[in-house]
């Protein structure tokens, strides 16, 4: 009898442990400030040094697999900076505290109940928790990302031949992001009403150049109900007509780039579209910097306010020239539920502090071979445009999407502005696409 009791104890303990595992304010503190007790380090890694083909093996453990391969192949060299704090907005942190332990996973992936605002699962993820990956995915969905709303204007994308460096196409966009629900900072808080469809967040994109894409617009509406398909609309300037996009178009090359709509911001899909697996916690190099301290590009169009864009270098000028820093990350894998998906697996190195998914992503093709590496560099908001000071987000500043198979890349240079005035809700209605021009 006693033996039997001991045998069942772990299972029982696991069951009764749920209340014991409830997040605490200390978990919140740890979640938003994982460097409270000091910055991470790795033997031989020092700010100011460069990781390149010659010394990459020494730092393999702190590099994402895709980034490691790119450096090893001599595609680019990584400039190392010091690990810095990327403090999240106080309003978001306060919302996390105020709503601690309210969010609960439902019976099936994609179901969440009780969520109000802030980071839904601030506790440290546990590899033994089979749904830890899903919790991190929810943390991302309801993450601070671009805050309650922001605009990237302009946003230059360049399609490049990685072998020759030839720029095949340059597109000038505006990207707008707006959270309709679970807002924590910008009025109206907590949500924009009325909102009968239950739109959680929307992205509105408008292309200004080149001529063949001028006035092309994209609207993506993601719903609070994660099991509801996104609505997406494309306005083709040359047709002057709005087309509703079929679901499959989110996984197609977006306007011929190396990105699919699902790649936006690291992952732009539903939680329920993927099977999420938390693989563990590590310290990994991510591209994070202070924009104003970088050597910036001199070959980009001038901005009236003097803003300059992040420069690109490396093979084919496919790699942003910012500094990388050692960060605490959660390694997360996402495998598409849809077997017809062009991707077999995505690997994310989720920054533990800011919760973003786009620092050094690996994207694997259907055969399971590494297809693309997506690296979005972030600037501290206080070291960027004056309007971003105090925004409490990591400002996406430059991206490299490198297709290792076709030796092609798409690069992005952002001018991100956290300015609520530039995101009226009407901009995110489908009528806005067809009504303007």
């Amino acid at each position: 009898m006693k033996k039997h009791l001991f045998a069942t104890l772990p299972l029982f303990a696991a069951c009764v442990a749920v209340p014991a595992l409830a997040a605490t304010e200390a978990d919140v503190e740890n979640s938003f400030n994982p460097y409270k007790s000091g910055m991470p380090s790795f033997p031989g890694l020092t700010p100011g040094m460069t990781i390149n083909k010659a010394n990459v093996e020494q730092f393999k453990d702190v590099l994402g697999a895709g980034v490691y391969r790119l450096i090893k192949e001599g595609q680019f060299e990584m400039k190392v900076g010091a690990t810095t704090q990327f403090a999240i907005s106080k309003a978001y942190v306060d919302a996390t505290k105020a709503n601690l332990n309210k969010a609960k996973l439902g019976a099936k992936p994609g179901e969440l109940t009780g969520y109000v605002a802030g980071r839904p699962f601030p506790e440290e993820p546990d590899v033994k928790d089979p749904r830890a990956g899903e919790k991190l995915a929810w943390n991302y969905k309801y993450g601070v990302n671009w805050g309650d709303g922001a605009i990237i204007s302009p946003f230059y994308w360049k399609y490049k031949n990685m072998q020759s460096g030839q720029v095949e196409k340059t597109i000038k966009y505006d990207f707008h992001f707006l959270n309709f629900m679970h807002r924590t900072k910008d009025a109206p808080v907590p949500e924009i009403t009325p909102n009968p469809s239950g739109i959680f967040r929307a992205i509105y994109v408008k292309a200004h150049e080149p001529a063949d894409l001028k006035n092309t617009q994209l609207l993506i509406q993601r719903f609070e109900d994660d099991n509801k398909l996104d609505d997406a609309y494309l306005y083709l300037g040359f047709q002057r007509r709005v087309r509703r996009l079929a679901q499959g178009q989110a996984t197609d090359a977006f306007l011929g780039s190396d990105l699919m709509i699902e790649d936006f911001e690291g992952y732009n899909g539903r939680v329920s579209d993927m099977k999420w697996t938390f693989k563990g916690t590590k310290n990994v190099m991510l591209p994070m910097w202070n924009h104003n301290e970088l050597k910036l590009a001199s070959d980009m169009p001038a901005e009236a306010d003097g803003f300059k864009y992040v420069d690109f270098g490396g093979q084919g000028k496919c790699f942003h020239e910012g500094t990388w820093q050692l960060r605490k990350v959660y390694v997360l894998e996402a495998a598409p539920v849809n077997t017809n998906h062009p991707v077999s697996k995505r690997v994310f190195y989720m920054d533990a502090q800011i919760g973003n998914l786009n620092g050094a992503n690996e994207i694997y093709d259907r055969k399971g071979e590494l297809w693309k590496v997506f690296m979005v560099g972030k600037s501290h908001a206080d070291h960027h445009l004056p309007i971003n000071k105090g925004a409490g987000i990591g400002v996406d500043d430059a991206f490299s999407m490198v297709d290792l198979q076709s030796r092609h890349c798409t690069t992005g240079q952002f001018k991100g502005q956290v300015d609520p005035k530039k995101n009226p809700p009407g901009l995110f209605q489908v009528q806005n696409l067809r009504g303007g021009d």
Partner: protein, 659 residues
């Protein structure tokens, strides 16, 4: 001298446009700032060369287009947008024997009379009228024949481009530009009376079409996040959700002369001066989005440009029918296989043909008004409800019967026996005035996803009243019929590994349906009588478009099939973006038609307008057709735009460059 003067004027206009376009960057400095918003003028200048080689014709297009698109944010939230476009198509000079001053020539018309057919006037049995063909102007003369301009030069036989006469009717059609040959020239609504300069530089006309778009716009912010959007000026207003088919997208007329149905609609809609106001209410407790739009088209009426006869793109070959008929009215002429259905006959002026074109003048009553409610339901269904009252952009030919026509048997001008007022009234006479009737439309559209199929679906439908159709069962040879049109389209991106393993191939299919209410179609002793348009018809389209090399190389093929006409168009093309600013497109356009035997229809040779002279049978009433028919003139409505373009197989290369 006058021509030279006009040349100079037009060349100076296009030169001004060209220099303005090339001077884009300089404009940014020189143009005045309109207000205290310091946003500079944004000017994009593009050049396009579109060269087409057509089977049996040679060069069919050498079109060079310069377009400048400009925008500015002005004071107080106003925005200004404009597009200037200038085109020069060199085909009229480079292939002048087909489309320019040397086009056409002397013609002979088919004559099926061989002396064996009874019932014709005795002089018809002269051997000169028993040859298989008869030269233009040499047909059997009836009253008044030979008094008009019957020069046998610069002519084509009606329909010879797409079918043989084959026992039907045909007549000569002048095909040279109207400054070279004025015969049959009428303004049918922006075409039909154009000189060579006007054909080769179509935007430089009295309607100032080189100002392609010019409007101001402003969004007024109202309470509760609502907005009022106002756009005033020359503009396109696009309704509906489908491609190619204009079910709801009927506010702007269309210029088919530019490239038939094969250019993007945004390039061939004819912008109109309009006011568009849109009350954007946003979301409510039950709807995610609500908008009400009112459009007032206060511009003077414009018809669809169907293409002037003698130019490369004459959709349905209608422009040639109209010009030939107008020439018949003015000058008379030779009509193949007419008398007795076999004898090639010469008519005199004012006996048959098109007399007048009644283009609506500008008046408040002739303006056009539309309203639309556009919304998105809470469940994500995007839809619109539309209503429009407008003037038909397609012409209707109403028989004028005895009003002003000359009786070819007696010379009388009203009745049918020679003296005004005598005899039974004339009916079913192939003498017409052209009208553009008022049409009222109600309709709607919607789109939604079908997750199970991985597809997006769009639907559009409209019901119209007031449209007029050819109808040989009616004394006026037309009838007003209500029409229902609908189209359903499905977009499905699909991975097709042999095309691309990384990019989906877009498969887009559409099915268009048209039903004509109270359709009339009767079997008569010699053939069908009534409406040539099909009571029910479907047209299907299929687009397969791949994206290779990061979208810089895009092969595609479009299939279009008219089910009743049994005609198919296949249009493969490859688009190659060499750089941000340079794009080359190479393609072809082939038509197949195995339903030509189905296109023949009553041509009114047996309509009996002047009983008893024209009676086929003693029991035949005045204006009652016995159904003798052929391909002309009504077969074009059965063949549709694909069938009537049979033998217009093209290959083309298009170059686009942005400065």
């Amino acid at each position: 001298m006058e021509t030279k003067h006009e040349n100079g004027w037009r060349l100076s206009l296009i030169a001004a446009a060209l220099s303005a376009s090339f001077a884009g960057p300089a404009w940014s400095i020189d143009l005045p700032s309109l207000g205290d918003d310091n946003s500079p003028w944004q000017v994009d200048v593009t050049y396009e060369n579109h060269t087409v080689r057509r089977q049996n014709v040679g060069l069919a297009k050498f079109r060079n287009t310069l377009q400048a698109e400009f925008d500015k944010r002005a004071a107080d939230g106003w925005g200004i947008h404009g597009i200037m476009r200038g085109t020069w198509d060199g085909v009229y000079r480079m292939n002048s024997s087909e489309y320019g001053k040397d086009a056409g020539g002397a013609i002979a018309l088919e004559n099926r009379f061989d002396g064996s057919q009874a019932g014709l006037p005795p002089p018809a049995y002269n051997p000169q009228y028993q040859t298989p063909t008869i030269n233009y102007g040499g047909g059997f003369p009836i009253y008044g024949a030979g008094t008009g301009d019957l020069r046998n030069e610069g002519l084509r036989v009606l329909g010879d481009r797409w079918h043989p006469t084959a026992g039907g009717v045909a007549f000569g059609v002048p095909v040279r530009p109207c400054d070279v040959d004025k015969r049959g020239c009428r303004d049918f609504g922006g075409y039909g009376d154009l000189s060579m300069n006007e054909l080769e530089m179509p935007e430089f006309n009295k309607r100032l079409d080189f100002i392609r778009e010019l409007y101001v716009k402003k969004t007024y912010d109202l309470d509760e996040g609502k907005q009022f959007f106002l756009k005033v000026g020359k503009q396109q207003v696009v309704w509906g959700r489908t491609d190619l088919f204009r079910v709801l997208d009927v506010i702007n007329p269309v210029d088919y002369s530019r490239n038939n149905i094969y250019d993007e609609l945004s390039d061939i809609r004819i912008p109109m001066w309009m006011i568009q106001g849109e009350y954007r209410m946003g979301a409510s407790e039950t709807m995610q989005d609500r908008n009400i739009q009112v459009v007032w088209n206060f511009d003077q009426f414009r018809a669809n440009n169907l293409g002037q006869c003698g130019s490369p793109n004459v959709i349905l070959d209608a422009g040639c029918f109209f010009r030939g008929m107008a020439n018949l009215w003015d000058n008379g002429g030779t009509v193949a296989n007419f008398a007795g259905g076999v004898l090639t006959t010469d008519f005199g002026p004012h006996q048959i043909g098109i007399r007048k074109v009644h283009l609506p003048d500008w008046s408040i009553g002739n303006t056009q008004l539309g309203a639309k409610y556009e919304g998105v339901t809470a469940g994500g269904l995007s839809f619109s409800l539309n209503a429009l009252t407008y003037r038909s952009q397609l012409p209707s030919l109403r028989s004028i019967n005895g009003k002003g026509t000359v009786n070819p048997f007696t010379g009388g001008t009203t009745g049918n026996t020679g003296v005004a007022g005598e005899g039974p009234p004339v009916a079913g006479l192939i003498a017409f005035d052209m009208h553009f009737p008022r049409v009222n439309l109600i309709g709607g559209s919607m789109d939604f996803q079908v997750p199970e199929a991985g597809a997006a679906v769009r639907v559009e439908a409209a019901y119209t009243s007031g449209e007029e159709f050819s109808n040989t069962a009616r004394p006026g040879l037309y009838s007003k019929n209500n029409v229902f049109r609908a189209v359903i389209g499905i977009d499905r991106p699909t991975f097709i590994p042999f095309i691309s393993e990384s990019s989906a191939t877009l498969i887009s299919a559409q099915l268009f349906y048209q039903h004509i209410f109270d359709h009339e179609y009767f079997k008569m002793p010699l053939g069908p009588v009534g409406m040539p348009d099909w009571e029910n018809n479907f047209i299907g389209t299929l687009l397969v478009k791949g994206f290779l090399k990061n979208g810089t190389l895009s092969p595609q093929v479009i299939f279009a099939h008219d089910f009743q006409a049994r005609a198919t168009a296949i249009a493969p093309q490859v688009e190659w973006n060499l750089s941000n600013d340079l794009k080359i497109t190479i393609g072809a356009n082939y038509k197949l038609a195995d339903g030509r035997s189905r296109w023949n229809f009553d041509d009114c040779r047996s309509c009996n307008p002047y009983a008893p002279f024209t009676q086929v049978d003693p029991s035949q009433a005045v204006g009652q057709s016995w159904g003798l028919g052929g391909m002309e003139p009504l077969g074009r409505f059965r063949a549709g735009p694909i069938g009537a373009a049979f033998r217009e197989d093209d290959i083309f290369i298009k170059l686009n460059y942005k400065f």
